[in-house]
Symmetry: C2
Subunit: 367 residues, 2 copies
């Protein structure tokens, strides 16, 4: 087991990474105020791990209740969030009861927001069971739900007490979701860690084959990168925005194609290729760089061509994006491979609107 700490002052918390952590009540107990927990999971992960993990906690003398939600991004909404509140109130969960998220990013986001909001805040623990959640959504305190008019529009910044990333849970992960997780892993190399990017290029086959050593290194390096960024900029005013590489385009793709049809990581992959294309058109990176990025995503089993939603639809979907400022969109663009920056409205750093139009009409699927 490896451990790193997300440094956030009095809200600092540890991330443990390794096999068999679902059996380790000793890692959970020091973080409880009350020996009582409610586990939130879904109909996919529940049958695999809920009974085992509940038993781990019960054997340690804890009172354990659970809520099993429907699975999928399409359920990341108020109705599902309310199922958690209903269960907490029916079970009379208290303000010092701990809420535990056992599942992927959707479960983590829903559970985190429920924990942030139930009685105005109760402790919670993240147990991410997908690669995406282990490297991304369990670090940084972003929680929330979707709104019909925009993804992740309603939520809170709320930190867990603890994250347990059990690498054994990745053995039951569908191939498509493994790939989606790798999109975020690759992102860290692209935005700020060229040596890691090169390591990924050398080890992509091992990752796709679920080699434990390779996965453990990739998770740890991703969490370290994200933890460094988040610790420096918890509320996303500066550096943290770099983590949104491919996300402005990606969210538009996810929204345009209908929630749940494209996985988040797939949107990020195709969205990053749009950001790369825009950067190339602005003379920031070369065609060879764009192809190198595409090759790595492709080897990770990810889509590298965005759907043709139409320029107006893209702009419309991006218009309500959280990175919007003073009416202009802010994009994460490439300075070079391993170094990204955020475009700034009204500065020399701003994106080129003509290049954006070309990207959204020419660099998309023509099939």
């Amino acid at each position: 087991m490896q451990t790193l700490t997300v440094e956030l002052g009095d809200r600092a918390y540890p991330i443990h990474i390794g096999p068999g952590l679902l059996d380790r009540a000793d890692l959970v107990l020091p973080h409880l105020i009350q020996k009582r927990a409610v586990i939130v999971t879904n109909t996919t992960v529940g049958p695999l791990y809920l009974e085992r993990f509940s038993q781990t906690l019960k054997n340690a003398g804890m009172q354990v209740d659970s809520v099993v939600l429907p699975d999928g991004e399409a359920y990341k909404n108020w109705e599902t969030l309310n199922l958690i509140f209903d269960a907490l109130l029916t079970q009379r969960a208290e303000r010092k009861t701990t809420l535990i998220a056992l599942g992927g990013g959707v479960i983590g986001d829903l559970t985190g927001f429920a924990a942030a909001s139930y009685q105005r805040g109760m402790p919670f623990i993240q147990i991410p069971t997908t690669l995406l959640a282990q490297v991304d959504s369990s670090v940084g305190g972003k929680t929330g739900i979707n709104h019909p008019l925009g993804k992740n529009m309603i939520g809170a910044f709320y930190q867990p007490q603890l994250v347990l990333a059990d690498t054994e849970t990745l053995n039951t992960l569908p191939a498509r979701e493994l790939s989606a997780g790798l999109a975020e892993v690759i992102k860290y190399g692209l935005i700020r860690d060229l040596p890691f990017l090169e390591w990924l290029e050398a080890n992509m086959e091992a990752l796709m084959a679920r080699d434990t050593t390779a996965l453990t290194y990739a998770i740890r390096r991703s969490c370290e990168n994200k933890a460094e960024v988040v610790a420096a900029d918890e509320r996303e005013s500066g550096q943290r925005a770099l983590l949104n590489l491919g996300h402005t385009f990606g969210h538009a793709i996810e929204t345009g194609m209908g929630y749940g049809n494209w996985l988040h990581g797939e949107g990020v992959s195709a969205g990053t290729m749009l950001a790369a294309d825009l950067s190339r058109r602005m003379g920031l990176i070369s065609t060879a760089d764009v192809e190198r990025i595409a090759a790595l995503f492709h080897r990770a089993g990810l889509p590298v061509v965005a759907p043709d939603l139409g320029y107006d639809a893209y702009m419309d979907y991006m218009g309500v994006d959280k990175k919007v400022e003073a009416g202009r969109i802010r994009f994460v663009l490439f300075k070079q491979l391993g170094e990204a920056f955020v475009s700034g409205p009204g500065t020399p750093n701003d994106y080129d609107p003509d290049a954006l139009r070309a990207t959204l009409t020419e660099a998309v699927s023509k099939s």
Copy 2:
């Protein structure tokens, strides 16, 4: 105009109290990131003050949108909250746009929770237009909505940038709501400020006659008391719980009688009388003390006898209260007039269950 500051480190904010503040754009402008605001109000307050206050801001060069919600505690729920989100998304409000609550406690709670949750947090300003909101719900950062199974169960601790308490808005306040506000004013005297309690006994007629000087003093002294408590204990682990005098019983009364039928302050008044009766039965205060409290509430036009919901119903409603810890209820009780304490499960400070049963069966309305 008088000003006090709620000391909360980097989230400290000023409260301005005085007449004519709705015309003072100069007080608002220093607190904006973007010269853009969305005002949330309701169908009662909107017709009185929305146009005037919008014009104040527009004359100062601001872009101003608004949302008008239905009025009443019965609307303090997810559906109404979502009307704010719909408006923010339709109007493409940004993360740096300021949300302004113009109304009473329900508007403040809804708007504050919307501001805390929209894009995971946007700035907001409170402009309380009821006495209750001016002395209580605009100070302390408590925001949220009700759930069918419990009041204020879903929400956030979220601080405003600024509070403007315009005393002129009290001239349009219905008498019943003035009284409800006075319940919270009296509470500050009861829990920690005997000189203020004595001042209230000497000036209740002036307050009921809406004497500006008396009201200004009462608002300021209440805010100071609350600000001192909140600054010392932002997240309600200790001293802040004293602010809940009468609230555990009061919430049960409000829930049991159906949201919106009893005003919050009315529940607090009758609930405080139950707390006083319980304290008397436990030998903490005298019958004369109880009668003195009742006399002051009565002069403020408030109910002093709680409804007979039945012991089981009271216990049931109080069982999901946020002050519950380790399965036992925590009550705010009287040590003496002007000094309250929180009962502690398993300590000599705990309440007497037999006395509680007697209070809930004998000190309630027999009509």
